[in-house]
Amino acid sequence: MPVLKGKELRIVGFLCNWCSYGGADTAGVGRFNQPTDLRIIRVPCSGRIDPLFIMKTLMNGADGVLVSGCHPRDCHYAEGNFYARRRLEVLHRFLPILGFEPGRFEYTWVSASEGQRWQQVVTRFTEQIHKLGPAPKIAGPEASATLRQMEAVL
C-alpha cells in the first residue's frame, strides 16, 4: 500500500525477536497508542542486522529506519547486540558521507518489559522523521538503473 498521503511517512523498523519485538508486543497489550507509520521487520537478533539492509531500505525510498535490540549485556544470544552496536554506530556516522541525513536512522535498546519505553521511542522517532519530511526519492525514467548501480557499489 502506498503511504497515506499527508498523514504517514514510510518508516521501517528492524527489531530483535527477544527483547524489542516483545517490547512492542507489550506496548500493544498495554494499549499504548502510537503513530501508525512504522512497519516492523522481525529478526532473531540485532546482530543479524546487516548494515546493508538499512542502506537498501533508505535507498529504496524509506523516510526513516529504526533499529532496536536488547539492552547491551541482556542479549538472548549473549553478545549479538555488541556486534550490532558497533556496526550500527559506524553506519550512523557514515550516513552523511553517503548522502543520507543521519536523523533518518536511529538505533536503540528496548527490553520486552518496556512497553512504555517502546511507545516513547516510536512516537519520538516518528515525530523526528515528520520534522525531516519525506526523503528525496530516486525517481525518473533512470530510477531503476540508478538503484541497481548504487546497489552494485554497495
Binding site: K7, V43, P44, G47, N60, H76, Q119
Partner: protein
Amino acid sequence: MKIGVFVCHCGSNIEGTVDTAAVAAAAREFPGVAFATDTMYTCSEPGQEEIVNAIKEHQLDGVVVASCTPRMHEQTFRRTVERAGLNRYLFEMANIREHVSWIGKDREANTNKATDLVRMAASKLLHNRPLLSKQFDINKRVLIIGGGVAGIQAALDCAEGGLEVVLVEKTTTIGGKMAKLDKTFPTVDCSCCILGPRMVDVAQHPNITLYAYSEIEEVSGYVGNFDVKVKKKATYVDWDKCTGCGICMTKCPSKKATDYFNEGIGKTTAINIPFPQAIPKKAKIDADFCMKLQKGKCGICAKVCPSGCIDFTQQDEFVTEKVGAIVAATGFDLFDWTVYGEYGGGRYPDVITSLQYERMLSASGPTGGHIKRPSDGKEPKNVVFIQCVGSRDKSVGRPYCTGFCCMYTAKQAILTKDHLPESQTYVFYMDIRATGKNYDEFTRRAMEEYNAKYIRGRVSMIYPKGDSLLVRGADTLMGTQVEVDADLVVLAVGAEAAAGAAGLAEKLRISYDSYGFYMEGHPKLKPVETNTAGVYLAGSCQGPKDIPSSVAQGSAAASKVLGLFSKDKLASDPQVSVVDIKRCIGCGKCMKTCPFGAIKEIDFRGMKKAEVIETVCQGCGICTSTCPQGAAQLQHFTDNQILSEVNALCQF
C-alpha cells in the same frame, strides 16, 4: 507458490479498528496469493479447520495468518499447516493486533498498515523453504538455583520423578525466607515444622546433589545440554568432615558477627551454623569477623573441633555440572526501608522490619520467642504495624503491591496478642488485600477476635518521645490525624528482586522487568517458562508470591522439566545457519563471532571451509551478517527473505 491468507478478526480486538475484509481483498492481488479470507477467530478449532480445508481445496503451499503476535500463536499455526501436510516453515504471521489494532484507533491507517504487514509476510513466504529438524541427545539432569520453598519443591518433585537434581543455594542452608518465619498464614501453623521435613528430604534424597554456599559462575550450552560452572565459596570448614556438632560455636571468642539468619537481631559467632534445623548442618566461618583470618591470631575452633575440619587456607572451588534444564528459584529480598526518612531512616532501634519481628516471635530465634524491644529489652505494650513500606509507592520506585504483607501483618498482630495478652496492636493500612482461600476471614479474625486496631491511612512520621515512639498518621476514614504512642513499630517491608537477579538473568539469557523480576514466557499461559528453551522459573524470582503460590510454581516448573525429559531426544530448531560451501572462502570470521562455538573449520578438497554444527547453532544469525561472501545464511531469516520484506514495503 500458492499462498493462502487468513485475516483474523480476533472478535473485535482486530476487527474493531481494522477492516479485515478489505485487508483480505487487497491480499488477493499480492504476488503468489491464491486465496484470501477473513475469519472470526483463526486460532479456534473451526478457524484452524478452515485453514486445513483451504490448503486442501486450493492446493495451497504456503499460509499467511494475520492476527496476533507470532510470540503468541506461531507454534499453533505451524502445527495447523503441518496437519494439512505442509512443512511448518511454509508459514508466516503478520502481527496486526499488538502492532496495529491495539495501538491506534484510526481505522483507515490501521487497515492500510495491516495490509502492508500482510504484503511483507507474503513476500517473505515466497522465499521460504521447507526446513526439517534434527534429533539430538539430552542430558536428563536438572539444575535448580535457589533452595527456598519453591526450589525445594521443584527439586523434590523432579527427584521423585526420577531425575538427577543439582540444587545450588547461595547461603549455607536451604530453607530460604520460609525457614525464617515463625508461623504461616492463614493456618498459624509452625513454618519450620512444615518446611523442616522437606528440607531433610532434600538432604537425604539419593537423586539430589546439594551445593550450599555456592553460586552460579557461568552457564553455557542450550536446552538439553547446559554446562554450568558452580562456585563453591570458601567456608574455611571441610564440610566432608564437619558433623555439625556446634562445639566450635560455643568456644568461638568472636561473638559480634552479623547474624544474617536472624536478620541482624542479635549477634552470632564468627564460626556458626545459622539455625538448629539447617540443611546442610555445617559450620561456616564469617571471614569478616574471624580473628584468625583477620589478624592471624586465635584458631580456637581448629583446636576444639573433634573432627579436625577447620581449614583456614580454604579457597573458592569450581565444579562443572552438565544438565539439560534449569529452574531459577532465586526468590526475593526485602526492600531497604531506610530510604523512608519519615520512619527514622534506621535511626530508631525500636523500628524494625516484619522479618526481624518474625525472628523475635520464633522460639528458636535470638530472643527465644519473647517479644522484646531492641533498645532496652522491655516487653512492648503498644505495637504499631505499618503496611506498604516499599509497596505501592511510586516515590521509592516500588509501585507494585507485594501481595502478602497484609496477610503476614494480620498474622503478626494475632501472634502479638498470643505472646503478650496485655498488648494492643495498631495496623496502618492502605487497603486490605486478602485474596486467597480463607485469607479475608483471617484478617477479620485479627480485627475482631484479637482486637487489632486497623487504621486506614499512611504514617507521616515516627519520632522518639521519651521512652517510646510517637507514630503520627492519617485516619482517612475518620478524616483526622492520629497519634499513637508505640513501644515497638513493625514495618511491613515489601519484596524486591533478589540482589544479583539481573546478573544471573544475563548468565541464563532470560529477560527481567524494570524491577529485576524475571519475565515469564507468557503472562497468562506460560507462567513458569521463559523465552529461553530449557530455563524455567519458580517462586518469587518472577514476582512476589506467598508460600502456596511459590510451592505451586515449584511443582509446575518440575512438571515442565519432567515433560521436557519425557523424550529421549529433542528436535533441534531448524532455523539455523547453513554455510554455502561454494561461496565460503574460509576466512574464519564466522567462527570468531559465533557466541556458541557452533561453527567449525573443515577441510574440503584441501580448502578451508566453515561448517555449522546444527544442534549447537542457536539461530542468532550473527555469522550471516558477518560473512563477507553471504555464504553463511540463517535459515528462515536469509538475506533474501529479509530484503523481500524491505522490498514489499519500499517499492512505492
